[in-house]
Symmetry: C2
Subunit: 339 residues, 2 copies
DNA sequence: GATTGCATTTATCAGACATAAAATGCAATT
DNA sequence: AATTGCATTTTATGTCTGATAAATGCAATC
């Protein structure tokens, strides 16, 4: 989401290894590695600062910082007045990528979400309370709160304070999100502006095929969720209509918070990956109507399964008592506050 | 740009008439009048502070301020230790409501939007530039920028600065928003959780009937747009699925910025109001499938008309040259920036 | 001639304080 | 008993300053 695209890890910029990396440096370091991996850059490839800066839409300063960080990790080497050059093979790249990736970017955000789901936070609160509790700055907290409000599970009160909405905790809401997807995703395929994105299709196919071929067992449920979302979002983007894509992104941002604790079993997941491949086949064969119908069915099945899992999960878990407001009404559209 | 605009940063809350009303007071004053009008409260009706505060989800302080403001305008009178009582008939209420309503709440936001549409703002800018140019505080500006980012027509750059996306200025984007509505609105009617909201229906019917009966000539295009949006949003809310409602709200927030400069002629608008009434008839008769089909047709016609108007309008107007990026690609879903 | 390395400028962020406004408690009144 | 009116407390915003990071210009180098 655009709002917090720049995360600053201002929590002590100095790390254990002494390399002080802050601001954009780390994210850009990750991007450089990603670039090197995706384009299969050979060892010794030149990495011109200026072009990297251009590619990432930033100035050369953070790029330099990122390269210094990567040099400290042995991924690149600097040759005086000649620039930086790649110095790691793909194995090493993967290792470093993993190490860098571990620093969760929006860690406090996820912590709040988790605490909310676990019922550890009160229904209503003020900014100061959370600020103190999570030890983040006002600006950071404000960003997170705004983000949650935009995602639809937190609402600003007209005066002081915020309050949570029951969206996240309700199994019904989850089912409703699937109903919504059943409406927009097949429709996206049928849009007159729909065009297959060859590259995206190829990448998605490779990814799903890898799952079917066993990689599914190596991945965490969060990663599996991410792959699944990306797949559907790629298809929606092919609609050529950003409204469909954007709507799906929004739903998925919300789903991410609850669903990874309700992942089905591996067998089911394998079946989903196979269905994803089948969907790609249908689309590439130009059978848009059949693809749309197939996708609708696919979503309906997933909805039913997930719904069951979540519901039983909800029974097991103790629900925060403040939630029981008597109705299952989900006041999501609360973003249009009146002042 | 920023050269000619060294305006006062001090925002004086005091008004010409001397009544210093700030913060929530004004919005709440409006709400009180709205309440009195909607419930047809008689002159002399008691207005208990505590209950008003409860109804509006605020404390008694801003309610008191609002009542004092209303007393200054003769809408209510205070009787010592007995409280405030209504002292205006519906004619006077309407007049005062209009007077209060004139103070646009998000005036700078709309000004920025208008300037952007008129091509008066550069493609890229920094917060400081806009702050100086519009004379708003950083917090206010930040709120507006975040809002625009969420609405999908502004994007934060990874480092410093923001940049506009081409969404708003393109007639294509507008057409695509209607395609999206054609997908979700009929589907909303067909949701299994769809339930008619009797009160909402009655209010909508009265409003649309008033339009047909001639009120259409008294209203500004912005007001007409607002009524139209409300109608469709009310229907979507009946779906019982907040995702549909929320998605429509988002689309409409975006449409609002462009569409009121492309309102069709009165005759067309009258026709739309009649079709809205017909839709209510169908729904109340329980004919959901026919209603959905009818709504879809309704949207298709409106889309075609508006599209024509906008396109010719675009030809007349001089488009800012920075826009011509060669493609009509609408980078709305840009919210998924990668770091 | 492109690119680097460094220095300078500019923008944003964090912390602190003062201020405005909302929330809240309680005695007084009907 | 409910509600008001006032006083007090709490909360958030505006503004300032210093710190830090990003953007940018330019000489030096390959």
């Amino acid at each position: 989401m655009a709002a917090n695209s720049r995360m600053k890890n201002t929590h002590r910029p100095s790390r254990a290894d002494g390399s002080r990396t802050s601001g954009l440096a780390l994210p850009i370091a990750r991007k450089i590695i990603e670039l090197a991996r995706r384009d299969h850059l050979p060892i010794g490839a030149h990495l011109p600062k200026h072009q990297l800066a251009l590619a990432f839409h930033v100035s050369r300063s953070p790029v330099r910082a990122a390269l210094e960080c990567l040099e400290a990790r042995g991924v690149v080497i600097q040759r005086r007045h000649r620039g930086y050059f790649l110095a790691a093979d793909s194995r090493k790249l993967e290792r470093v990528a993993a190490a860098l990736g571990r620093h969760a970017e929006d860690e406090p955000y996820l912590r709040i979400a988790a605490d909310r789901l676990a019922g550890k936070l009160p229904e209503q609160f003020t900014e100061l309370e959370l600020m103190r509790h999570y030890g983040v700055s006002r600006a950071q907290l404000h960003m997170m709160l705004t983000r949650m409000a935009q995602e639809g599970w937190l609402q600003r009160k007209p005066g002081y304070g915020w309050k949570f909405l029951p969206v996240l905790t309700s199994a019904e809401a989850h089912g409703l999100s699937y109903r919504f997807r059943m409406a927009i995703e097949p429709a996206a395929i049928l849009e007159p502006t729909f065009r297959i994105d060859a590259k995206g299709f190829a990448r998605a196919r490779a990814e799903q095929q890898a799952l079917v071929d066993g990689r599914i067992r190596e991945l965490s449920s969060a990663e599996l969720f991410s792959i699944g979302s990306r797949f559907h979002e790629m298809i929606a983007r092919c609609s050529g209509n950003p409204f469909f894509h954007e709507a799906l992104l929004r739903v998925n941002r919300l789903r991410r918070l609850i669903e990874y604790r309700a992942m089905g079993d591996t067998e089911r997941f394998l079946q989903q990956a196979r269905e994803h491949l089948r969907l790609l086949d249908l689309l590439e064969a130009g059978e848009r109507e059949r693809a749309a119908a197939f996708l609708r069915g696919h979503l309906e099945v997933v909805r039913a399964v997930k719904s069951t899992v979540l519901r039983s999960g909800a029974r097991r878990r103790t629900r925060p008592k403040a939630e029981q407001t008597g109705s299952t009404a989900i006041a999501m559209g609360a973003s249009h506050v009146h002042f």
